[in-house]
């Protein structure tokens, strides 16, 4: 059961403010301010501008007892990488939204955290390495590496929340956030936890922008998923976390969840380290398996939150995979990619898009694909939601994430 969620994106510092602006067709993409982007061919990303505002609303680095769910922050470190701040903010919102503070206080060992990330604290990692090169090993601030290691960010976030159950850091590239939902479900099914906060996070930094620019994967102008003029992705940052809970535990707390995570299925293309299989075999296998485990037919899916990066290769392969799995039913499924509005959050994408998919089921609004104008011929057959949200209640929805290394992860949610 999904009993709560939290999200921090360039569109808003919580899930609901992000959702309102997303459905209104707004975009969080703007000029890059975090580093000098002049050497690159593109200068835009979906950055979260006012970090201080986040740390004020969800105090980081000092003990809190009387507000924000009454949780104690375990560690007193003041300096955290952006990724850690986003993760903690989204976790705290999810805890508050699911009213889990008492559960964590009384039975911390029954609450877990499974988070996906691609980079961890790479902003600090790059700062450390620049110092290492400039000043030598003995004079670089080694403390910057404390919040660089991927697992350290997740585990310290869990400690700060008082979580005592299973804590795992998944780093399945851009599929990590969705894969995290599957591992979290496995912990609940195996009886190792009653509640697991699951999703993903990543921060925007020079390293990742340089990397995707070198692959020529960044959009030269606007990111336009599934559009005939699409020319690449736009990067973003933030975190998305959902609170997954066993039905028994939710009922014992008298929570009435409106959404359920029905299944998560993963597969691998085994094709190329960066390119997806153009035949969409691996992606289709994950989608088909997710439907099978959810015990749903394609016709029962009303909405797909697509991976939809806006690159030539991803969108084409994804369209092929959707056509393989949905067949003639594809014309009845509404599809959107939210990446043009909040950016591609890499390891955080699956988490944020899971939150959007849950909100779509709960609100009866299906979010738009910002900047999408005319469908690309190779994506023909997809019913892409354009500039504004569509009001429609659906009973089941799918969220797909695909990553480097051909890693595919697909989640299916259902209305309760």
């Amino acid at each position: 059961m999904v009993t709560g969620y939290g999200a921090v994106t360039a569109l808003g510092r919580d899930a609901h403010s992000t959702w309102r602006r997303l459905c209104a067709g707004e975009s969080g993409v703007a000029q890059i301010t975090l580093f000098d982007a002049s050497p690159f061919y593109s200068h835009e990303a979906a950055e979260i501008k006012d970090l201080q505002g986040i740390s004020t609303r969800w105090p980081i680095g000092r003990a809190v007892s009387s507000n924000n769910s009454g949780l104690q922050l375990f560690d007193g470190r003041a300096s955290l990488d952006r990724g850690s701040i986003f993760l903690r903010a989204a976790c705290r919102e999810a805890v508050h939204s699911a009213d889990l503070a008492e559960t964590i206080r009384v039975r911390p060992e029954r609450v877990g955290l499974v988070a996906g990330t691609t980079l961890g604290g790479m902003t600090y990692g790059t700062r450390f390495y620049r110092e290492y090169r400039a000043r030598g090993a003995g004079r670089a601030h080694a403390s910057l590496l404390r919040d660089y290691l991927l697992h350290g960010q997740t585990e310290c976030a869990a400690r700060s929340l008082g979580i005592g159950g299973p804590v795992v850091t998944v780093t399945n590239a851009c599929a990590a956030g969705t894969s995290a939902l599957g591992i979290a479900s496995a912990f609940i099914r195996a009886g190792k936890a009653d509640v697991v906060l699951a999703g993903g996070f990543d921060s925007f930094c020079e390293f990742i922008f340089a990397g995707f620019s070198s692959l020529q994967a960044i959009a030269r102008e606007k990111c336009r998923p599934f559009d005939r003029r699409r020319n690449g992705m736009v990067l973003g940052e933030g975190a998305g976390i959902i609170a997954l809970e066993s039905g028994l535990n939710a009922r014992s707390r008298e929570r009435v969840p409106r959404t359920e995570l029905l299944s998560v299925a993963d597969s691998c293309d085994a094709y190329h380290i960066t390119r997806p299989d153009p035949g969409g075999e691996g992606a289709a296998r994950a989608m088909a398996r997710a439907l099978k485990e959810a015990e749903l037919e394609p016709a029962e899916i009303g909405y797909v939150n697509a991976h939809g990066t806006g690159t030539q290769s991803n969108d084409e392969a994804e369209a092929v995979a959707l056509a393989k799995v949905f067949g003639a039913e594809l014309q009845n499924v509404l599809v959107s990619s939210t990446k043009a509005a909040v950016g591609h959050l890499l390891g955080g994408a699956g988490g944020v898009e899971a939150v959007f998919t849950v909100m779509a089921l709960e609100d009866g609004s299906l979010p738009p694909t910002t900047n999408h104008d005319v469908i690309a011929p190779e994506c023909a057959g997809l019913q892409v939601i354009r500039s504004r949200a569509i009001e429609r209640r659906v009973d089941a929805a799918m969220s797909s994430s695909f990553g480097f290394g051909g890693q595919n992860s697909v989640a299916v949610f259902g209305a309760v």
Binding site: P39, Y41, F74, P108, E109, G112, T118, G120, T126, F128, Y129, R130, R133, A137, G138, A142, L145, L149, L150, H151, G152, E155, C156, A158, I163, G164, G165, P166, V167, V168, V170, T171, N172, A173, G182, I183, F187, R189, A190, E206, F207, F209, A210, G211, F212, S213, S214, L215, A265, D266, C268, D269, A270, I273, T274, R285, F404, G405, G406, Q407
Partner: protein
């Protein structure tokens, strides 16, 4: 459902493959610290490191271009192939692995732990950013520096198409991938699990650990260790030889200190010590290879249970109270073993093994 360990593959400074490494361990041949061939150890305050010699990957894998792979991926590919070969699950030609049966490949779960990923390629990418400018970096170097690069390399090399998970974790993460593999099999999400840890040495990280005062203990080392897990019914059906059974996996965070961590598992460290026949100490043979170390601890324990004997060289001599640095604590009784991992963030995990 019983889950068994049916294959083990190791790439270590001591050798290649389960038999070679195990013979070295039984002979008491410890890791020999030496100067690194890849970075300077000056100022690190250690006598040396234990590197894996350059691998002749063509001897192990057929038809796979491993030249541009980071070392962490090469180790992982080699150890994974050796593990599948050990389990009798791979197709081979002229002694080299050429991949697994496509039907098995779609139902095989791959789960790989690493603490630092491809540190060397991440550093090289940063060097390019600094030396040539951010807009002039290598696309391939970026791709191979990601943490899931070993997953991608194994999947392509061995035709693995099932669920693949890259897990970032500390020295204890090698235990988690084994535990998760078993859970996926029990849940029916996979028929076979190929799980393990892989790590490469990095001068940058070692210098940082030196600054944290965390470079004491076992010699810094590298390598990869993989295990093949299968449901008992599937293993019996193909008459596979098994090493041991995985009986339990528990994990959690403890905000209250080391002793309570193990108490969280329903037992206590002292209880484990009392019932244990001996405490295994793999540190002289595995070194401090972070996530790989704990995977190797599981592999060594599996072999001890299979042979119903702990080699003399592995018997811990220094009492049982010290926390094993850079690996897990292993307590072996007559017919079972308990492997306890603890990270610097106070995350713990416990894996139970028993004889089959």
């Amino acid at each position: 459902m019983k889950v068994l360990v049916t294959g083990i593959g190791i790439v270590s400074p001591l050798g290649l493959g389960r038999r070679e490494v195990w013979e070295a361990v039984k002979a008491g041949r410890k890791l020999a610290p030496a100067a690194s061939t890849r970075f300077s150890i000056e100022g690190l305050g250690i006598p040396g490191v234990a590197e894996v010699p350059d691998l002749d990957m063509d001897r192990i894998l057929s038809g796979v271009d491993t030249r541009r792979m980071p070392r962490v991926s090469q180790f992982a590919c080699a150890a994974a192939a050796l593990a599948l070969k050990d389990a009798g699950l791979c197709e081979s030609a002229q002694g080299r692995t050429v991949g697994i049966d496509p039907v098995i490949g779609e139902r095989l779960m791959l789960c790989v732990a690493s603490t630092h990923g491809s540190a060397e390629h991440a550093v090289k990418f940063h060097d390019e950013m600094i030396d040539y400018g951010s807009g002039k970096t290598s696309a391939m170097l970026f791709a191979t520096s990601t943490y899931n690069a070993p997953i991608s390399a194994i999947a392509q090399s061995l035709r693995v198409k099932g669920p693949c998970h890259a897990i970032a974790g500390g020295c204890e993460a090698g235990i988690d991938v084994v535990g998760l593999g078993a859970e996926f099999i029990r849940a029916g999400l996979a028929d076979v699990a190929l799980v393990g840890g892989t790590e490469e040495l990095s001068g940058v990280f070692l210098s940082a650990y030196r600054r944290f005062g965390a470079l004491g203990g076992p010699v810094p080392a590298e390598g990869a260790c993989f295990l093949v897990l299968e449901a008992e019914s599937a293993a019996k059906a193909r008459r596979a030889v098994s090493f041991c059974e995985l009986t339990s996996y528990e994990t959690g965070m403890c905000p209250h200190g080391m002793t309570r961590q193990v108490c969280g598992n329903g037992g206590s460290r002292e209880k484990e010590e009392r019932k244990s026949k001996c405490r295994m100490n793999s540190a002289p043979f595995v070194g401090r290879a972070f996530a790989m170390s704990s995977a190797a601890d599981v592999a060594f324990s599996s072999m001890c249970l299979s042979e119903r004997e702990v080699p003399e060289a592995l018997v811990g001599k220094g009492g049982t109270h010290a926390i094993r640095q850079g690996g897990a604590d292993v307590f072996i009784a007559r017919s079972d073993a308990t492997i306890v991992g603890i990270s610097w963030t106070r995350r713990w995990n416990v894996l139970g093994l028993s004889t089959t």
